[in-house]
């Protein structure tokens, strides 16, 4: 019996570089990177895309993608992306930012990029902690959550409450597409990919600011096994950060991808 010609059903996206990861075992940054690369391939955007890397664990994001990249100062990626997009409006520009970068030091830049309706895409990794500096409290850290700078657990009396960025940003008229997804299981990863696709579709159609918040794991700093960390997202993070579509331009809502 003749053997059927082998068919490739899964391979590294062209937009993803061949590079050994520096991320910790069980970290979902790698998944998020891959989803972006798959979307850029599918939409054939690689050759005109410029990424903006943040400061945080994904500070070296540019090493993992095979397209042009720049590296921003902490929190300033939306401003830097604004500068690029205004000079090269036909190019695709996206930022990749963590919660400390986007929701703490970069709060002003993200809010105003959205308010201006800046035609950029933001992939926002929310893992409720500062990873790169070793597990400090982030603006998204859950109440009671132990971090190195909230060693007794986040005390809402003195340290305040977590910030829900997708909800806040969705109130701004300049935002065209703002959703929250999670990377804790295959079903949700598929939904996350679709959201990233729609975010880039928003940009390509000139419909304003687009952001996908991705609930992500940090086993190292959460001091959990990779599997337990995924469970933590489902059990603890999703109740605080509900998944959903917070703002979808009707044109994007009608899109089938």
């Amino acid at each position: 019996m003749a053997i059927a010609e082998p068919k490739i059903v899964y391979q590294r996206p062209t937009s993803l570089a061949t590079r050994v990861t520096h991320y910790c075992p069980g970290c979902t940054h790698g998944v998020a990177h891959r989803l972006i690369a798959e979307v850029l391939d599918e939409m054939e955007l690689r050759e005109k895309t410029i990424g903006v890397a943040p400061v945080g664990c994904s500070v070296f994001a540019y090493n993992y993608f095979d397209h042009d990249y720049v590296e921003a100062a902490h929190g300033r990626a939306p401003a830097m992306a604004t500068g690029i997009k205004r000079m090269l409006p036909k190019n695709t520009v996206y930022t990749y930012q963590g919660d400390g970068d986007l929701a703490s030091i970069g709060m002003a830049e993200i809010m105003h990029a959205a308010a201006r309706g800046e035609n950029i895409t933001v992939v926002f990794i929310n893992n409720a902690i500062y990873g790169m500096t070793g597990g400090q409290m982030a603006p998204t850290t859950l109440p009671g959550m132990v971090t190195t700078s909230s060693p007794g657990g986040r005390d809402i009396e003195s340290m305040g409450y977590p910030v829900r960025m997708a909800e806040i940003l969705s109130t701004l008229d300049g935002a065209g597409y703002v959703v929250r997804r999670s990377l804790h299981d295959p079903n949700n990863i598929r939904k996350a990919k679709k959201a990233i696709r729609l975010a880039f579709e928003t940009q390509e159609r000139g419909l304003g600011f687009s952001l996908v918040e991705l609930l992500s794991s940090c086993p190292t700093n959460w001091k959990l096994s990779p599997v337990d960390a995924l469970q933590f997202i489902e059990d603890k993070m999703i109740p605080m950060f509900p998944l959903g579509d917070y703002k979808v331009n009707p044109e994007i809502g009608k899109l089938r991808v």
Binding site: E47, V70, A79, N91
Partner: protein, 375 residues
């Protein structure tokens, strides 16, 4: 082209447009705001980028991103705003990107006031941001010279992939003066070979200020230094007035230099051999030229609108070979020509006196007397 009457800030903005500036990102601040207002109107008319940012922090980071595309981009601000920009300026320096930053300086520190000052000398000339880098710093003294310095600033920025700071003060930003605009330059059509534009048909490009392995950063610091030494060797600019035979040589930049020129002419009219050396590039500093000046003059008077910041640089060059004196006004006060003339006369009467042990200290004593008289 005929001369036209321009307000300083508006003239600088038009000059930037004519020099091919394709992106302006700024935030309102007195006394530089008219620059932003002018750009707000003109840039969109020409299909070029203008954004009023949410802060100076965002503005300079927009400039940072825009500079990554290899186009001519800039911002303009004033002292407190420039302080906020120092983070981005350091990153731009670390990424070796060209851009132009204009500081219409005002009195400080802190909120200070909105009157003209030269108190940002250290910040603008020595760097101001963190890390090991060297900005080019130009200090024009008239609206026309500032207009002409903007095209030069863009040329230097591109030639050396460097930040160019232009120091003017509230006087130059706010005054109206006739000036001739340079012709409109064509825009650059192809981006430089380091710029990001999308990796079509080429390897991807990464623009970053990160060199995580110290030996890589060391090589980078060394590259920046060597480039700086090349700039020092070939880009020094200055202006001189009656310095050939001057017994009293004033060294002053920007507005202080301009006021001093009036005092020098007045002294010359009375037969006093005064002269003016005016650095146009504060960085690179005209070291050789000032050292040469020291050899042919009897006394040097440094005049600034600060507490003697350039005085330190002059002293380092002169190495005690000729006596140095200092005169400054502070906090947003511009010296009058008469004050500098009085200084020339004072020095002229004591031309062979021993060198002041501490020129700054002796000036403080004199200034305090003047302030008593003024109040």
């Amino acid at each position: 082209m005929a001369k036209k009457l321009y307000k300083g800030n508006e003239a600088f903005a038009e000059a930037a447009i004519r020099a091919g500036c394709e992106g302006f990102f700024g935030y309102p601040i007195t006394p530089s705001t008219e620059f932003l207002e002018y750009m707000a109107k003109r840039m969109p008319e020409l299909g070029r980028a203008f954004v009023q940012a949410e802060s100076e922090v965002a503005a300079i980071n927009m400039v940072y991103g825009a500079a990554c595309t290899g186009k001519r981009v800039m911002t303009a601000s004033s002292s407190p705003g420039i302080s906020l920009m120092m983070e981005g300026i350091s990153y731009i320096a670390g990424t070796e990107l060209p851009c132009v930053v204009i500081n219409v300086m005002r009195g400080g520190p802190g909120l200070g006031n909105i009157a003209p000052s030269q108190g940002d000398y250290y910040q603008m000339v020595k760097g101001g941001g963190h890390g090991d880098y060297f900005p080019i710093a130009l200090a024009p003294s008239t609206v026309q010279e500032a207009v002409d310095s903007i095209a030069l600033a863009f040329d230097l920025a591109e030639k050396y992939r460097s930040i160019v700071h232009i120091l003017v003060d509230g006087n130059l930003g706010q005054m109206m003066e006739p000036c001739e605009m340079p012709p409109m330059q064509p825009l650059r059509e192809t981006p430089p070979d380091w710029a990001v534009s999308g990796a079509k048909g080429r390897e991807k490009r990464i623009l970053s200020s990160i060199y995580i392995d110290p030996p890589d950063e060391e090589v980078t610091n060394l590259r920046l230094l060597k480039r700086w030494m090349e700039i020092e060797a070939s880009e020094v600019r200055y202006d001189e007035l009656h310095t050939e035979d001057a017994e009293i040589a004033i060294i002053a930049f920007g507005t202080a230099g301009r006021v001093a020129s009036t005092a020098v002419r007045q002294a010359r009219a009375e037969g006093i051999k005064a002269g003016l050396f005016r650095p146009i590039t504060l960085a690179p500093f005209p070291k050789k030229e000032i050292a040469a000046l020291a050899k042919r003059t009897k006394r040097i008077l440094v005049v600034e609108m600060n507490t003697g910041m350039m005085l330190d640089d002059v002293s380092r060059v002169i190495e005690g070979k000729v006596p140095i004196e200092f005169y400054g006004r502070l906090g947003g006060v511009t010296p009058l020509p008469d004050e500098i003339y009085d200084e020339i006369m004072r020095i002229s009467h004591n031309i062979d006196a021993p060198a002041p042990e501490n020129p700054r200290m002796e000036w403080v004593t004199r200034l305090e007397k003047i302030l008593e008289g003024e109040n």
